[in-house]
């Protein structure tokens, strides 16, 4: 059982119906499932707005830590702790303070340190290790394996050798997955999506800012040169070794489900980035195989079935009710 929530770091838990609903959901499933069945709550980056966790003496530190603590709280109820439910955070560009180098890495290290303090004996972690591109592997075989990438570090990385090494490791994981007949499916969890119908992916609007987006001049857009290189590299690896079952990401503040039949994209690309902010859905590239999208608060849950398949449910809030209900569901094979 895997929960996917992204970009949830803009409000503390008292102001977040989503975090409250997520906690109820995680508690219910953690209580219902036996301990041998893993339950994982993934936060897909931008865990602390606006600029990550600032240094402890800073006046902003209490607000930053409250934003992170709310997400930790969602996965730390009594049943979740008893079950051993894992809570894993992936870094996003805001967790780096929207900067690079030593300064950005320091923000990420602050976040990792804070999670360690909130801790619970390693049940709650930031993956991969600050500053590394990944993949960092969480092996929950025979149910699933999850490979974590820091795609913001990837976009900023100028050394070809470092990127090549990370790609080689991901390629090895994928090869192992596809070589063995009984291997657990591989999920890649990262902040940046490979395809998107959200504002970072779709072309919308008019005026100089919209033109900057169209020119690929904004690093965080899917059409910037470093981002295109990231996408191209991943697709090349997938063509050689086979693609992962799922690429789960946030970044765009929409909920979106893409399903690809090709060999160069994951079978399922899931965008769950409306944890605390919401954007509109634009026109997706026809090649991106968009199945469903919505610009509203929500999260996703992937239930792995005993027959080897999985069921995806997208949970969104309907009207002004506090509860989140399944709005879209599909069986994933």
């Amino acid at each position: 059982m895997i929960y996917l929530a992204g970009d949830a770091g803009d409000v503390p838990r008292e102001d977040s119906p989503l975090l409250q609903a997520l906690r109820r959901d995680v508690e219910a499933w953690s209580a219902a499932l036996p301990p041998r069945v893993p339950v994982v709550l993934l936060f897909l980056g931008d865990n602390v707005y606006p600029e990550g966790v600032r240094p402890r003496p800073s006046r902003s530190f209490p607000a930053d830590s409250a934003r992170l603590a709310g997400q930790v709280w969602a996965g730390s109820g009594p049943a979740a702790r008893t079950h051993g439910t894992r809570v894993v955070f992936v870094p996003g560009n805001h967790d780096w303070g929207n900067r690079g180098g030593a300064e950005g890495r320091a923000r990420l290290e602050n976040e990792a340190r804070l999670l360690e303090e909130m801790g619970d004996d390693g049940r709650i972690t930031l993956e991969p290790t600050p500053g590394e591109l990944g993949p960092a592997l969480l092996d929950l075989s025979p149910a699933v394996r999850i490979a974590f990438l820091d795609t913001h570090a990837w976009l900023l990385e100028e050394r070809d050798a470092v990127r090549a090494a990370a790609l080689a490791e991901l390629e090895r994981l994928l090869s192992d997955t596809h070589a063995a007949t009984d291997a657990a499916p591989l999920i890649v969890a990262a902040h940046h999506p490979l395809v998107s119908a959200g504002p970072h992916g779709a072309r919308r609007g008019w005026g100089p800012l919209a033109w900057l987006h169209r020119a690929g001049a904004m690093l965080q857009d899917l059409n910037s040169a470093p981002y295109r290189e990231l996408r191209r590299s991943m697709r090349d690896v997938f063509r050689r070794t086979g693609a992962p079952l799922i690429w789960a990401a946030g970044h765009d503040h929409v909920l979106q489900v893409h399903r690809s039949e090709g060999t160069d994209l994951p079978r399922w690309s899931l965008g769950s980035g409306s944890g605390s902010k919401v954007s509109g859905v634009g026109d997706a590239d026809p090649d991106d195989a968009l199945l469903w999208a919505a610009g509203r608060p929500g999260y996703m849950r992937v239930i792995f079935l005993t027959d080897g398949g999985a069921r995806l449910e997208v949970m969104t809030r309907v009207g002004k009710e506090a509860s989140f209900v399944p709005t879209f569901a599909v069986t994933m094979r």
Binding site: P50, E51, R54, S58, S60, N93, G97, N98, R99, G100, P208, L209, W211, L212, R214, A215, G216, A217, M218, L219, N223, S224, A225, P226
Partner: protein
């Protein structure tokens, strides 16, 4: 550094460009020979359009930097690239206050240069690389270059009698 600190440092970096502009504005206010109503109208027009043109030039600078692999990661990174906005506003307001017809000449030539620059830049992007991103980068960079070149040429070209004025005398009046 938080967002407000970054914005503060960004503004501080544009200060050297702002100082002469502020001086020009002060001089304008104290020594304009034109009737107040016409002066105000053209000053507002010049300031508004100058700021808008400056914003486009800023976009061109950002696109040009991206071509070289340098990206704006947060608002604080904008730094000196923001200077065209206050600079354009100040120069436009000054020109409008001092000589409305020179302003109109600058606006006309600037608009022509902007359009031609965007078209030329788009063509260059299409021919050199062909991607949509290259075309739009050409639009922004070419448009910025054309806008600045046209605006300056238009200001210099106006001489009051319809002919070409080879020199532009900027009279700065100060209270002392």
């Amino acid at each position: 550094m938080n967002r407000s600190s970054y914005l503060r440092s960004s503004y501080l970096r544009t200060l050297p460009a702002l100082i002469p502009c502020l001086a020009l504005i002060l001089g304008t206010g104290l020594a304009s020979p034109r009737p107040a109503a016409a002066q105000t109208g053209d000053a507002v027009l010049g300031g508004f359009l100058g700021a808008g043109g400056g914003a486009f030039v800023t976009a061109g600078l950002i696109a040009g930097d991206a071509l070289r692999g340098r990206y704006i990661l947060n608002p604080g990174d904008l730094g000196w690239r923001m200077a065209p906005v206050p600079l354009g506003a100040a120069v436009g307001a000054f020109m409008g206050a001092r000589n409305g017809r020179r302003l109109h000449s600058s606006l006309a030539w600037g608009t022509g240069g902007w359009v031609l620059g965007m078209a030329g830049g788009a063509l260059a992007g299409a021919l050199l690389e062909g991607s949509e991103e290259a075309v739009w980068t050409g639009v922004l960079v070419g448009g910025a270059v054309g806008l600045v070149a046209g605006s300056v040429a238009g200001a210099l070209a106006w001489s009051g009698d319809g002919g070409v004025d080879p020199t532009l005398a900027l009279q700065v009046a100060a209270p002392w």
